[in-house]
């Protein structure tokens, strides 16, 4: 129903479709059945996409008996607050510590990484220096390097210099992100004209000043996308923290949840209820970021495809 309304709005937004005027009657005839088929397919796919999330939300509101005995897809009793209290008090509130760690690694690491990436992308896109091609080749080439090849020797190197099991072991690798550099270069090419830089130079502005007060300001959209993708990556990271973090006080949320979900096999302690509530909570920052920056990340996702 909404669809028919939309059809009439279509031509102004996409002038190219107006060419289809001649074909219209024919299209309308086929579209009744066709549209229904389209909608059924998409609704089914959406149900498949959403029901696990729905189940997780419902499960996080149940107490233990409810979790094991009631219908998984509907509520039975409201115990969300109890679950949250348990989650944050279990084991001296270690979950809160993990949350703070994840926020620290993802927040600070991505911020530093974004700044370095923007500078590098700008340098690569707007200056011609010897070795520029080589740097760019390294950026693109590194997309193919498997994580194990890097993580394992990195662990050994970090343990030589005493960084293993410290926040630095997570933060330092986040600072260098070739994919962010690639994105930053693409954004610079599309937003920073050469003429503008020339004009600023003629006005006597130094290169650093140009970068910080003109380039960075014009790159807020691109920078936001780079930051968002880096944040999501770090928040989702699992193999790196598993390798370089030993003591649980430095763990990330993912590592903590992984450990809790293995407790049952290891020591017979069933933490399912805590794991599920924790899992739901760990999605919340992602959801907030994604919604707040919807405008930016869409371009990021599609640009990501170009790599």
């Amino acid at each position: 129903m909404v669809l028919t309304e939309d059809r009439t709005e279509k031509p102004p937004t996409r002038p190219v479709r107006r060419l289809g005027r001649l074909g219209r009657p024919d299209r309308a005839a086929r579209s009744r059945g066709g549209q229904r088929f389209l909608l059924i397919g998409l609704v089914l796919a959406s149900v498949y996409s959403l029901f696990p999330v729905w189940w997780l939300i419902v499960a996080a509101t149940k107490d233990r008996t409810g979790l094991y005995q009631s219908n998984g897809l509907w509520f039975s009793g409201m115990h969300l607050w109890d679950n949250l209290r348990q989650l944050f008090t279990y084991d001296d509130g270690i979950f809160l510590r993990w949350t703070a760690n994840s926020l620290l690694y993802a927040g600070v690491g991505s911020l530093g990484g974004t700044l370095i990436a923007l500078a590098t992308g700008y340098g690569l896109a707007r200056f011609d220096f010897p070795g520029r091609r080589l740097v760019f080749a390294c950026v693109v080439g590194s997309f193919l390097i498997p994580i194990a090849l890097l993580t394992l020797p990195l662990y050994l190197m970090f343990s030589e210099i005493g960084l293993v099991d410290t926040p630095w072991a997570m933060l330092i690798p986040c600072l260098i992100n070739p994919f962010s550099v690639y994105l930053a270069k693409v954004y610079t090419e599309s937003t920073i004209p050469f003429e503008l830089l020339e004009a600023a130079r003629i006005d006597g502005a130094g290169e650093l000043r140009i970068f910080f007060s003109i380039v960075l300001r014009m790159m807020t959209t691109g920078g936001a996308t780079v930051f968002l993708l880096a944040f999501v990556n770090t928040w989702n990271a699992f193999f790196l923290p598993l390798t370089v973090l030993r003591g649980e006080e430095n763990w990330t949320l993912n590592l903590g949840l992984y450990n809790w979900s293995g407790k049952r096999l290891e020591s017979g302690v069933d933490l399912t209820s805590l794991v599920l509530t924790g899992a739901l909570l760990s999605i919340v920052p992602m959801a907030i970021m994604m919604i707040a920056m919807r405008r930016y990340w869409r371009t990021g996702v599609t640009l990501g495809a170009l790599k």
């Binding site: 937004t13 479709r17 397919g41 200056f127 740097v135 989702n236 869409r298």
Partner: protein, 294 residues
């Protein structure tokens, strides 16, 4: 360009270059170096251990290690099933979205992208619990239809992981394919319609060939990810350690060699081997798919 400006431009990239050397080149060099040595404990292990240069022995061992090569084969076979299924669903959904109006398509696109926003570890936790006979709704659902399914049984573990990966990946792949579809000139479709082509014919003969590039790309990214699969099996291992053993996927073997067996040298050789396999796999996939396009 002025000479000084060149160096100022290069200066912007210096932090990255330093970091790249320290975090990428050095570790790779170190891994290759480590892979050429073996550790030998002298005299009943009391006299400590010495590293001896062993050339390509570790690589030879890796190539004949049935557990390692088996895990590579296992993952490759699995990829041959899961990736085409996931891409086909993503393609169909992208085609469906493309046939909708922009506004409706936007709404569905967000809904279908929800799984992509969920961290991989959390996605695995959610599905493992959905599969669980104790808390998950899927077992009673199966019973209602007379199906006695056990998602953690040896024969079901890969399909269970496959469903999880498909659920997680459809949205992202769909968005990329959809973006490629949107870039196809609309006049082509109208011209084809005037010539009496059916919508299905248009999809098969115009739309799909135009998104071939996007399909190759998503396929390659998926292969790279699949060869490095770790999170999902690691979490499944928490539930069924007998089925998902510690040599289930290549990265699991590497991790175990390094941290449980303590053989960094062999682990390093295996990770270099995996990198080479990965390079060859993506190259072959790229050549194969782009030759068809000509």
């Amino acid at each position: 360009m002025i000479r000084s400006l060149r160096w100022k431009g290069a200066a912007f990239t210096v932090p990255f270059q330093l970091g790249f050397v320290f975090l990428y080149l050095l570790p790779i060099g170190y891994a290759v170096h480590q892979s050429l040595f073996t550790e030998q404990s002298s005299g009943l292990g009391l006299g400590g251990s010495t590293e001896t240069f062993s050339g390509l022995d570790n690589y030879q061992q890796g190539l004949t290690d049935s557990a390692f090569m088996g895990s590579v084969l296992r993952v490759v076979l699995f990829a041959c099933v899961q990736i085409p299924v996931m891409l086909l669903i993503s393609l169909v959904l992208a085609l469906l979205l493309d046939a909708l109006t922009a506004r409706a398509a936007g709404g569905f696109r967000i809904l279908l992208l929800v799984p992509y926003m969920i961290p991989g570890v959390v996605a695995a936790i959610v599905w493992i619990n959905l599969y669980s006979p104790e808390v998950g709704p899927l077992t009673p659902l199966g019973e209602a239809f007379g199906l006695d399914w056990n998602f953690f049984a040896p024969s079901m573990v890969w399909p269970s992981i496959g469903n999880l990966l498909t659920w997680h990946g459809i949205g992202y792949n769909m968005v990329i394919i959809y973006a490629a579809l949107q870039a196809v000139p609309r006049e082509l479709f109208e011209a084809a319609r005037l010539d009496g082509a059916s919508e299905r014919r248009i999809a098969l003969s115009i739309k799909i060939p135009h998104v071939r590039g996007a399909l190759v790309l998503t396929g390659m990214l998926s292969i790279i990810q699949m060869l490095q699969i770790f999170n999902e099996p690691a979490l499944f291992r928490n539930i069924t350690p007998q089925t998902v053993n510690d040599s289930f996927t290549p990265i699991m073997i590497i991790y175990n060699q390094a941290f449980n067996a303590g053989d960094y040298h062999y682990a390093a050789a295996l990770s270099v081997l995996l990198a080479l396999i990965l390079g060859v796999a993506s190259f072959l996939f790229y050549r194969l798919t782009s030759r068809e396009a000509d």
